[in-house]
Subunit: 265 residues, 2 copies
């Protein structure tokens, strides 16, 4: 839709190609990538070669296909530990999930999207879209709106601009105006709902995970179905979630920033 103005730089292009390979989720031919690529043949070719040489993607010469490479797998482990609140939040998610028995999501903001970094299934599982590692829209998910509502104004504005406002259900908010109004309500209420805005029959409550300084570290949500819960009965879980959220925030800060560096050369 909208043209991204500043995608400049070779590095940016290479990373776009990497995203593209990742998006296929399976080994993919050069021509397939070319079709959906914004770059000319020779450029795409060279970028792929560079990425392959760097081990970020692998090239299977026999089949002529590209796939994500092992260098990323190695980074995966380190990324998970360093950049995500998932390892810190794990025990608290376990506890919350056990007590509540409904689906629990832990999410973070990735550009203008929601990245689910961890998940606990309901005691009685429910089919739904989300999955750890997947991304979802900000404007029509509980965690997305919760995180957005407490984001700094400049980031918030940017993200609101970048949403696509596709109508998933009758309840989906389909304009910036509607979303802004909803964010106001969320802020004064102290938490967010998803009232079947993304998938019919699926509702949730969500809280932001905030650092001491008020920065958004992530979001926590409890999801259920209209068959099992109403918004009100979900709202009853909020105090419980508040405890979980503040514990995660506390641990996250002391863990991620050991404040003083313990050695000097």
């Amino acid at each position: 839709m909208t043209e991204r103005p500043n995608e400049a730089g070779t590095v940016g292009k290479a990373l776009n190609v990497l995203d593209q390979v990742a998006a296929f989720g399976r080994p993919v031919r050069f021509s397939e990538l070319l079709e959906s690529s914004e770059y000319p043949k020779a450029t795409l070719y060279r970028l792929l070669q560079t990425l392959a040489q760097q081990g970020m993607i692998s090239f299977d010469a026999e089949r002529g296909v590209y796939a994500l490479g092992v260098r990323l797998v190695r980074l995966a482990h380190q990324a998970w530990q360093t950049a995500s609140i998932a390892p810190v939040a794990r025990p608290y998610l376990d506890a919350l999930s056990l007590e509540i028995g409904e689906t629990v999501h832990l999410a973070q903001l990735d550009h203008a999207q929601v990245l689910y970094v961890d998940k606990r299934n309901a005691a009685v599982p429910v089919e739904m879209y989300s999955q750890a590692g997947k991304v979802g829209p900000v404007y029509c998910t509980g965690v997305g709106k919760a995180m957005l509502a407490w984001s700094r104004i400049d980031a918030q504005t940017r993200i609101i601009e970048q949403q696509s406002y596709h109508r998933f259900t009758d309840n989906t908010l389909t304009s910036r105006r509607a979303l802004r109004a909803e964010l106001d309500i969320i802020c004064s209420r102290g938490f967010a709902f998803d009232n079947e805005e993304h998938e019919p029959g699926i509702i949730c409550v969500a809280l932001p995970i905030l650092s001491q300084g008020g920065r958004v570290l992530g979001g926590l949500s409890v999801t259920s179905t209209t068959a099992r819960h109403s918004l009100d009965s979900l709202a009853a879980l909020v105090p419980h979630m508040k405890t979980t959220v503040s514990r995660i925030a506390e641990d996250a800060e002391s863990w991620r920033f050991p404040d003083q560096i313990e050695e000097h050369a």
Copy 2:
């Protein structure tokens, strides 16, 4: 030690910096990175800015520290699912671990190193170096030698060249010659041992995971201590491991290469 000749290209440099940030495993200051960086100040600075702008790393302005970013977390997760045999092998590892009760490792080759992609601890755990996501040497680990022994000759030669042959223990193979001889033995025997070559007191048996076409998909090992096992008693586990390995290989191939692409535009 040896200078890497072809690290050229902006993309390569940027990815090196990414690795460097990842290696710290915690939020890191610009000056810390500069100290251990091969790039001049201004260059490093710009590379970090680019990576941050791309979401591969995050920059916390308040504390002035860089950390791995969410875009990387997302890519990493997809890489784990697409490029690693870990998700496919998981149930088989679980089963093997349960029956054998010793430490089980699943590994893949990453350039000239062993990348541990999954691990099951022994019923009675043992302190040791390895961990999922970590890398280890090829020439003195069971999985490393097993994977190397069945690698294609060109890759094998390259990897043998690139080893450092550091003497970890009295049993470590410390020359290309010795390693080549060992690989011959491994090939005719059908599996590899690690006879305290990396850590004293730690021994293991390892098998390669081979595709139908004979390509090395990964390696599987069972590790124990000299106190609990001899090489012979570990060798007794090989038939069991063979079954596991062939099941993983079978699943991996049908999963990773659905062979025909199911749709055409």
